[in-house]
């Protein structure tokens, strides 16, 4: 029986000709990632290893992004600890304030992941790199520690669900609407332990940024990874960002899938996840009058240049609704710089929004936009769990940058076509 794209990458990295779903394997890793929250725990775990050396100083990425610039003394101590570890071990890819960006936007931009790689990261949204045709998945700090020391990780080979995307999306329909629609359809555990493989003629209409957003949120359906086939857009992106040579894997024609869904992208409407689960989706037409207090545009899901571009196009010459706070967070220093040169930052500031240095900040309720009791926020981030952005009775509505920008003008959840 044939293998899925994910299974082929895993087989290669385990030195096997064939793997099948459910098999336990040990795979070689091309990159091990950690951030300022998960790396300290991994560094402590590494201290208990007999062999405390890192397997390859080039193949570890430590990105200080969640609570930096340091939000308090304890966070500062964590970052200091990681900084010292990076220095002692001569870690090539250590990104501190000034070079850092939100990890899952930064790593592809820096060319650290290419098609065919196997990557683990102590951050659940590590699945983002599936957009590049790589196998990448989130793990915890102990796996990160073992990965940093041995260059290997154990995996249960996942089965896969096939998502056939057809047709051309309408204006304002982005990767975010597609993945929210899918999560609404299959639920937050709909892809539990499985790969989500995206195929179909609709892929030709999806930018790399759309694909990053879709792969990024595979975890919100419980998926182990999300993955896209490699096409000209992927290869062009990789050649622009990396000196490394991509390795292209394709699913076998007789690969087995546990289920298949066909999604006509031309029929999708702007989609919003209502509190308190990403699966609680409604189209913008069904949203009703939801008055909001805050808008966040940013995160590893939607903080890339094209996300800021669409928001700026909508906000250009307009004003943020009085009484609303709008926080825009470019995901990396490069995105920040490009957005500045393109005039997007000026547009945001003139509209009455604030622009922050790159940080995960409000997405996980860290800082830079915490919600008070009863407040509501439209956010381009990835989770709307209870208390995720602040008070346990605050509410998060997940949406695309277009819906977020339109809502910033009106003060309630709004179809971008109507502003």
């Amino acid at each position: 029986m044939g293998m899925t794209m994910t299974q082929k990458i895993l087989a290669k990295h385990a030195g096997l000709d064939h793997v099948e779903a459910g098999q336990l394997i040990e795979a070689d890793l091309d990159l091990v990632l950690g951030n300022d929250i998960t790396s300290p725990v991994a560094i402590h775990a590494m201290e208990n290893l007999n062999d405390k050396k890192v397997f390859d100083k080039e193949k570890i990425a430590l990105v200080m992004d969640h609570f930096v610039p340091n939000k308090d003394i304890k966070s500062a101590e964590h970052v200091k600890e990681v900084r010292e570890f990076a220095c002692e071990n001569c870690i090539t890819n250590f990104y501190d304030v000034g070079q850092m960006g939100i990890e899952h936007a930064l790593l592809p931009e820096k060319g650290l992941v290419v098609a065919g790689d196997a990557v683990i990261g102590a951050d659940s949204h590590t699945c983002t790199y599936g957009a590049l045709g790589a196998f990448s998945t989130g793990v915890g700090s102990t796996d990160m520690a073992a990965g940093m020391a041995t260059g290997k990780a154990w995996f249960k080979v996942p089965s896969a669900i096939k998502f056939i995307l057809t047709g051309k999306p309408a204006p304002f329909i982005s990767g975010k609407d597609i993945i929210l629609h899918i999560i609404g359809m299959i639920g937050v555990d709909g892809a539990l332990y499985q790969s989500m493989e995206f195929v179909g003629d609709g892929l030709q209409y999806l930018t790399m940024d759309d694909r990053f957003t879709i792969a990024n949120m595979a975890i919100e359906a419980g998926g182990k990874n999300g993955i896209f086939p490699v096409d000209d857009k992927t290869l062009e992106y990789i050649s622009e960002h990396s000196d490394r040579k991509p390795v292209v894997y394709e699913a076998d024609p007789d690969a087995e899938y546990t289920s298949e869904y066909t999604i006509d992208l031309s029929k999708l409407r702007p989609t919003v996840s209502f509190p308190h689960l990403p699966e609680n989706t409604k189209t913008v037409d069904e949203a009703g009058d939801v008055e909001i207090d805050q808008v966040v545009i940013g995160s590893c899901t939607n903080g890339r240049l094209s996300d800021l571009q669409i928001a700026a196009d909508i906000l250009k010459g307009k004003k943020v609704k009085k009484g609303l706070r709008v926080i825009v967070i470019p995901a990396t220093q490069q995105v920040y710089l490009d957005a500045m040169e393109a005039g997007y930052l000026k547009t945001f500031i003139e509209a009455g929004a604030v622009v922050s240095t790159p940080t995960c900040g409000p997405c996980l309720g860290g800082y830079m936009g915490i919600l008070a009791s009863g407040e509501k926020c439209v956010s381009t981030t990835n989770r709307n769990f209870v208390g995720r952005m602040g008070a346990t009775d605050s509410e998060i509505y997940l949406a695309s940058p277009a819906v977020a920008a339109a809502s910033a003008i009106t003060g309630k959840i709004t179809d971008p076509a109507n502003v």
Partner: protein
């Protein structure tokens, strides 16, 4: 491997890692500090009520969301001896095995065990006994490789053994 016995704290579907240990406490990686805030955003009295050895029983997709290992660490440090659920989110599942927090999947146990019941778990046989009702359930067995990790006391000890 030893057994667990304690009072059940029952939860529903999709208990996410943000409610298990909210991100506002992730500026610490000290297990004792994390334990003080375990389950705070889903049950603010959990820490007050939980006793050493108690058992968490939940329904589907326990531990979904973030990869923060702080979640199973806080549960273990709060004194919980075992988590039983119909299913676990995959990163939480890995993390629990890696740090040595006993977890067991059982749909029937998750459905039938009630909050406040006294439950015992025999890890060798995977038998879960609700001593309050007298019912027994069979937890799903771990694949041999994972059982080796568990027997070693987690991934770090396992790696040390493999190298030895």
């Amino acid at each position: 491997m030893e057994s667990a016995r304690g009072t059940v704290h029952k939860f529903g579907d999709n208990v996410d890692t943000d409610v298990i240990i909210p991100a506002r406490y992730l500026n610490s990686s000290d297990p004792e500090e994390l334990a003080k805030h375990c389950m705070e955003d889903i049950d603010k009295d959990f820490v007050k009520n939980v006793k050493k050895g108690d058992i968490i029983v939940a329904e589907k997709n326990f531990g979904c969301g973030s990869s923060r290992e702080h979640a199973p660490i806080s549960i273990k440090a709060a004194g919980v001896s075992c988590v039983i659920a119909e299913t676990f989110a995959r990163i939480f599942y890995r993390n629990s095995i890696n740090i040595g927090l006993p977890i067991i999947e059982s749909k029937e146990a998750a459905e039938k065990i009630k909050n406040g019941d006294t439950v015992s778990v025999d890890f060798d046989s995977g038998i879960i006994t609700d001593e309050t009702t007298g019912e027994t359930f069979k937890g799903q067995a771990f694949p041999p490789f994972m059982q080796k990790l568990i027997d070693a006391g987690g991934l770090i000890n396992y790696v040390n053994k493999e190298e030895a």
